[in-house]
Symmetry: C2
Subunit: 126 residues, 2 copies
């Protein structure tokens, strides 16, 4: 066996972790935070399509997981900064690998999709 635990078991704690971080919003947030501490509304603005509800709830979960930290400054109005913890920074390396992979291979994927769709079309075609 490749793993100490069986990651394919739904009782494996590692799989619970995988379930949590295999989330597009969490990945985008972490990747964005790898550029440095960032404020709530900046994240909301920068990550197109995320709602404030999902953003805040994802941030809370990531904070609970110890992957990011939340720091509030007693300014008026209040300022809050989110940043990666060392644990989160560690993970963001893997995230980066993912994002970079997606970037450098998207053309291959799009070609594969087009080819697949052409095959499907001719298979069910007239």
């Amino acid at each position: 066996m490749k793993y100490d635990y069986d990651i394919y078991s739904d009782r494996c704690p590692a799989r619970a972790v995988l379930d949590r971080i295999a989330d597009k919003w969490a990945l985008l947030i972490m990747d964005r935070l790898s550029a440095g501490p960032t404020r709530f509304n900046t994240l909301k603005r920068d990550i197109a399509g995320i709602s404030q509800k999902v953003l805040s709830q994802t941030l809370k979960l990531l904070e609970r997981d110890g992957l990011i930290s939340r720091k509030a400054y007693a300014t008026v109005p209040v300022t809050v900064e989110y940043a990666l913890t060392s644990l989160g920074e560690n993970l963001s390396r893997a995230v980066e690998a993912f994002a970079h992979w997606a970037e450098s291979n998207m053309d291959a994927i799009r070609k594969a999709q087009a080819a697949y769709d052409r095959r499907e079309r001719s298979a069910s075609g007239p």
Copy 2:
């Protein structure tokens, strides 16, 4: 900018790719396939908790993306084997990094969660 495209834009093709592969079932399937070509029901049995519907639909999507290949053998009853393509194998490296990260850091995460929950509990009073 770190990327050629802006991955935080919802129009970025790389983000579409990220959306697709940031899926726990897809990740588990790819990771399982990295051990070698595998049949449908074997996947279903091994990956605890996946339904047949989700399995087949995820396999189809992964095949469309060119990440896995499907090979049917004219036996009775029919035998079908799924395997990683070279593109998929390439990705599965990143997936493995993810899975391993999850495995080796799950304890830290669980501790962080417990600490967070303790803080929350004491924050919201007796």
